[in-house]
């Protein structure tokens, strides 16, 4: 099959980008092999949007004076953040979980692929699907249901995406570290999802919360992501007008990502010492 001298020839090597894209290609091929899951997802998104559209009909616009009084647009941005957060929080955890279940985790970790490459590669396809989902939802909302957004705020929203995704991916990395050790029962993803929905103002403005809880909202990074996205897409604010909120968001992301990767490396190390890497 391979001549001895051929094995010693230096061959072109893959780059981390090529490896991340190979992971994305694998994820895409696996994802589209579950066609009913895709159909169920489209149905779930469509009914979710319709539900919030009808809820918006009964919401008093005066409760939303900072957001042009439009609940449907307000909540769509909350759903937008929800889609991004589920990618960041869940993608790598899901990868670890499914590799453990399919028995491929050990052979994957025995390749020379760097952990950050595995981490980033596992985000690509879920992020792609989330973006398609967002375009679909906003397309239907604008073209069919009459939602209105400020085109001038698109740049602000686009700039908010990288730190938002990085922030949730960092928390997702902590979840993955937990899954590496405990195999099940990650508490971080539900905690983050619920606190985003309830305290950070994804589904309703935090102004309706009691004063103490409003204070807690300001400690949560997703609150700042929502502020920036809404200021841009509903009010048409530029990135400079939301500067403080944006900087806080970026700071949260910059601090949390290295901490997350470090925790994940430590979790893998503990699993390598205790011999629990592949147990499931």
């Amino acid at each position: 099959m391979i001549a001895p001298d051929e094995a010693t020839i230096t061959r072109p090597r893959s780059t981390p980008l090529a490896q991340a894209l190979a992971i994305a290609k694998r994820d895409f091929l696996v994802e589209i092999s579950y066609q009913f899951a895709l159909i169920a997802r489209v149905f779930s998104i469509a009914t979710g949007v319709a539900t919030y559209y009808f809820i918006s009909k009964i919401v008093d616009p005066s409760q939303l004076h900072g957001y042009a009084g439009r609940y449907f647009e307000f909540v769509l941005i909350g759903l937008f953040l929800g889609a991004i957060s589920s990618v960041g929080l869940g993608a790598f955890t899901e990868t670890i979980h499914s590799e453990q279940a399919s028995g491929t985790l050990e052979v994957l970790l025995a390749t020379p692929t760097a952990l950050p490459t595995l981490f980033i590669g596992s985000l690509i396809v879920p992020l792609g699907f989330a973006l398609v989902e967002i375009v679909f939802v906003f397309g239907v909302a604008i073209l069919v249901l009459g939602a209105h957004f400020q085109a001038s705020g698109l740049v602000t929203a686009a700039l908010a995406m990288p730190p938002t995704l990085a922030l949730f991916a960092a928390i997702g990395g902590v979840s993955a570290a937990f899954i590496v050790l405990s195999k099940r029962g990650d508490p971080f993803t539900p905690l983050m999802t619920q606190s985003t929905n309830f305290l950070a103002g994804a589904l309703f403005p935090i102004a309706v919360l009691p004063g103490a809880l409003q204070g807690v909202a300001h400690l949560l990074p997703p609150f700042y992501a929502l502020q920036v996205l809404r200021a841009g897409l509903i009010n048409g604010d530029s990135i400079f007008e939301v500067g403080p909120d944006y900087l806080i968001l970026v700071a949260f992301a910059l601090v949390s990502l290295p901490i997350s990767l470090s925790l994940l490396k430590r979790a893998l190390r503990v699993a390598r010492v205790t011999g629990t890497l592949a147990s499931y």
Binding site: M1, I2, A22, E106, A110, T111, L181, T274
Partner: protein, 256 residues
Amino acid sequence: MSLELRGVAKTYMPAPWYLRPVVRVASSKPVDALHDVSFSVAPGEIVGLIGPNGAGKTTLLKIISTLLEPSAGTATIDGIDVVESPRAAREQLGLVLTGDRATYWRLSGRQNLEFFGVLAGLSVPESRRRAGEMLERLGLADRDRRVMGYSSGMRAALNVARATMGEPSLLVLDEPTRSLDPLASISVGHLLREQADAGRTVLLSSHRMDEVATWCDRVVVLIDGTVRHVGPAGGADNDKAARELLELLEREANSP
């Protein structure tokens, strides 16, 4: 030497106290799995690791593969320490673990090989070329369906091919023929011999005396985590060597 083990020991320790509510291990007390394991394997050589269940074979192979950290001793692949430089060591390593779920069953054989080739360090075109070459060699090129449709023998062969995609200098296999019929086992044996003839170092664990005696140049007998015998696997005198190994294993099993 391509693979060098010096005084490798492994004791499975319980998790640190602050992680015990989260990390569940088999025993709350330290479990000794390997003691002072030392041997080496040269390029082009196939060495069989044989021993009863629980002897520590898989533990040793996982240490070599950077999936487990040894408690003491060193393991080097082409002079690279697997603990000090795990990524560099993995570049020299191809791993086949026991069982046939080491590929993605919803992908085709070709897609699996191309994926693992890139992760092993090959460029995309090179990985594609090599995957085609491998499938051709395995007789799977015209049956490029999802792995879930493969027979056990085809999956075992695909696993060996997957492990060799990155053209590693060391191939580590943990019972690659478990649950295979004799013909499929022979096919895997031929594949391993080709790899050794191409200059690769091959270390495989097995329960089967016959295949170790037939395929391997040397044999290492591991019992209770300790190396009890290192010697020729048989060569032209397969039956005699196999009989001697069997006697050794029986003696150890019956010893108080």
